[in-house]
C-alpha cells in the first residue's frame, strides 16, 4: 500500500514538472529531464521493493491527473481572455487539448508576439 502511494506521488510530481515544461509551449530539455527522473524513480521503486510491477499504472494515473490540473491552472492564469472557466479548460485538456493552444497562438500572432519556431 505504501509503495502504491509512493508511485502515485511520483506520478503527481512528474505530471506537474511535465506540464510546466509543456505549457504554453513545449520545451524539450526540461520535458525529457522530468520524464527521465520520474521513470528512473519508478524503476528504482519497482526493482528494489517487493511491490507489484503494475503500480506503473498508478504512476501513469497520477501523472495524467496532476498534469491536467496544473496545465489548466497555468492556462487560466496566463490566458484569461479565452473566456473559459477553470473547469472548462480542464475539460478541454481531456477532450481537445489543442484548442486552447491554438487560441493562444492566434492571440500571440495577432499581437505581433509570435516567435519563430526555434527551441
Amino acid at each position: 500500500m505504501i509503495w502504491t502511494l509512493a508511485a502515485f506521488a511520483i506520478g503527481l510530481l512528474t505530471g506537474v514538472v511535465a506540464s510546466d515544461a509543456r505549457t504554453p509551449h513545449t520545451r524539450y530539455v526540461p520535458l525529457l529531464s522530468g520524464f527521465a527522473l520520474g521513470i528512473s524513480l519508478m524503476l528504482i521503486l519497482v526493482f528494489t521493493t517487493p511491490t507489484n510491477p503494475y503500480v506503473g499504472f498508478v504512476f501513469l494515473f497520477g501523472e495524467i491527473l496532476s498534469s491536467a490540473f496544473y496545465t489548466a491552472w497555468i492556462w487560466s492564469r496566463i490566458f484569461p481572455e479565452i473566456g473559459l472557466s477553470y473547469g472548462q479548460i480542464l475539460g478541454q485538456e481531456f477532450a481537445h487539448p489543442s484548442y486552447v493552444r491554438r487560441q493562444y497562438s492566434a492571440k500571440l500572432y495577432e499581437e505581433g508576439l509570435a516567435r519563430p519556431a526555434t527551441d
Binding site: V16, V17, D20, P30, S33, A36, I78, G112, A114
Partner: protein, 130 residues
C-alpha cells in the same frame, strides 16, 4: 557507477530547476525541484551512501546544469541583456534577481511606479516585441 548516475540525476534536477525559475519563479515546480533534491540526498544518507563524493556529484551536477541551462534560456529570450552565455550563467549563479528585475523592467511602461506583476511576463519566450 553510482557517481555517474547521480551526476546525471543532478543534471536533470538542475535543468528542471532552471526551467522553473527562469524568466520568473513559478512556485509549485520550484518546490518540487527542491523536494526532489533534498529527497535524493536524504535517500542516499538512508541507504548508507553518504560519502562526500556521491553527494557532491549530485549537488555539483545540479548547480552546474542549473546555471548553464539558465544561461541558455536567458541568451535565447533576453538578447537585450548584452551578455554571453557564460556571463549569464555566472550571474544566474551569483545573483539571479538582478536578471529577473532587468527582464521585467522591459515590460513595464517607463513612468509606472507601481510594481504590479503583469501577466504578460508569462508570454515572454517571444523573440521580438514590436
Amino acid at each position: 557507477m553510482l557517481v555517474f548516475g547521480l551526476l546525471i540525476a543532478g543534471s536533470c534536477v538542475g535543468v528542471l530547476t532552471a526551467s522553473a525559475r527562469v524568466p520568473h519563479v513559478r512556485v509549485l515546480p520550484s518546490v518540487i525541484c527542491f523536494a526532489l533534491a533534498i529527497g535524493t540526498v536524504v535517500a542516499l544518507m538512508g541507504a548508507g551512501r553518504s560519502d562526500a563524493v556521491t553527494i557532491l556529484a549530485f549537488l555539483g551536477g545540479m548547480f552546474v546544469s542549473s546555471s548553464l541551462y539558465s544561461g541558455l534560456i536567458w541568451v535565447r529570450i533576453f538578447p537585450e541583456g548584452q551578455r554571453t552565455l557564460l556571463q549569464f550563467a555566472v550571474l544566474d549563479f551569483v545573483n539571479p534577481p538582478v536578471l529577473r528585475r532587468e527582464y521585467a523592467s522591459r515590460f513595464e511602461p517607463a513612468d509606472s511606479s507601481t510594481n504590479n506583476r503583469q501577466p504578460v511576463s508569462d508570454q515572454t519566450d517571444v523573440e521580438s516585441l514590436s
